[in-house]
């Protein structure tokens, strides 16, 4: 936590101005207020994400034609690579970059730690969507819900690694200690990202090769199918941006409460000792 240490009035008062016994004040950190600009960015991202997602679903289910080889199953391709793109490259990639920036002494700030935590949580949700939608596509295509294929297995390993990251963050520790150990775990987990990406090239896998992010960056899909696929990527990226902004804000509020609830508890103990009434309304049930 970058917040200043708590200062009580009783600690800073001079003998000429003794603190009023009925008003022990503890918290000096102002509550985190979201700027109107940040709120506007969040709102615009949310509206664009919603419109884009609805349009992608409409184009994917009703407008685009069935594929010559896959039939209607190609419609899952408009969303499955999009969620995989967000989970693997945007969310976990951002978590890795943020972790490096936290560990780098010149850029060390809890901002990067919060950003990494937010990206990982959102990434885990998208990773689950990737595995489930891939499995639903695999059953009619391959005849099985799951195969221990290199792409599928490495993606599942990535999910487990980042679930471990989230579990580690729940271990009680000082914010700096938590941030440092989380950053190391994020970097360790991120080693799996290139393995997932190149798995279809390095091994002989059931999973098809990349449609967009292939070595030559050439689209292997055309016409309305290509536009719908690209719109799916953009829309799901906007969904990620909106979720990241909201989740980051949740992290800011959680950290502020963690720090200031301690201050309130100290004030209560002080007021018990002096016989003065403590802060009137302690929040309960705040995680």
């Amino acid at each position: 936590m970058t917040a200043e240490p708590f200062v009580t009035d009783s600690a800073t008062a001079t003998p000429a101005h003794p603190p009023a016994p009925s008003a022990p004040k503890t918290v000096v950190n102002p509550p985190p207020v979201q700027s109107s600009r940040s709120r506007a960015v969040e709102r615009v991202a949310g509206v664009l994400a919603l419109v884009g997602t609805v349009t992608t679903v409409w184009l994917g289910l009703w407008v685009t034609p069935p594929d010559a080889a896959q039939g209607d199953l190609v419609r899952l391709v408009y969303v499955h690579p999009g969620v995989a793109w967000v989970a693997l490259y945007l969310a976990f990639g951002l978590a890795a970059v943020s972790s490096v920036l936290y560990l780098w002494p010149r850029t060390r700030s809890l901002f990067w730690d919060r950003l990494a935590a937010a990206a990982v949580e959102v990434g885990v949700v998208f990773n689950v969507c990737t595995l489930v939608s891939g499995s639903i596509w695999g059953k009619p295509t391959w005849g099985v819900w799951w195969a221990w294929d290199a792409r599928l297995t490495s993606t599942a390993v990535l999910l487990v690694l980042f679930l471990g990251y989230l579990a580690l963050r729940r271990v009680p520790a000082e914010p700096d200690v938590r941030a440092r150990r989380s950053a190391f775990v994020a970097l360790f987990a991120a080693v799996d990202i290139p393995i997932v990406h190149f798995s279809v090239n390095w091994w002989n896998t059931l999973h098809q090769g990349a449609t967009v992010l292939n070595p030559g960056l050439t689209l292997k899909i055309h016409g309305s199918m290509a536009w719908t696929l690209l719109l799916g990527f953009v829309s799901l990226t906007l969904v990620f941006v909106w979720m990241l902004l909201v989740r980051y804000r949740v992290g800011v509020l959680e950290d502020w409460l963690d720090a200031n609830e301690l201050g309130l508890a100290l004030a209560e103990r002080q007021s018990e000792g002096s016989g003065a009434p403590g802060p009137a309304a302690r929040p309960v049930g705040v995680a």
């Binding site: 509550p31 997602t53 994917g60 289910l61 209607d72 949700v125 949740v250 309130l264 705040v286």
Partner: protein, 52 residues
């Protein structure tokens, strides 16, 4: 086609539920922050309320 619909339903439901949970979590935390700042600061102090 039922596999396709199932795939869309799963993805959209998971994302929608997570989004609702995020908004709900933020509101609950913002209310808690407002309560703490009101309980701890003098009336009318900066930050007493208005947290989102």
């Amino acid at each position: 086609m039922r596999y396709v619909v199932a795939g869309y339903v799963v993805i959209l439901t998971v994302l929608f539920l997570y989004a609702v949970q995020l908004v709900w979590r933020r509101r609950r935390l913002a209310r808690a922050v407002a309560r703490v700042s009101v309980a701890d600061g003098p009336p009318g102090a900066p930050g007493a309320g208005g947290v989102s």
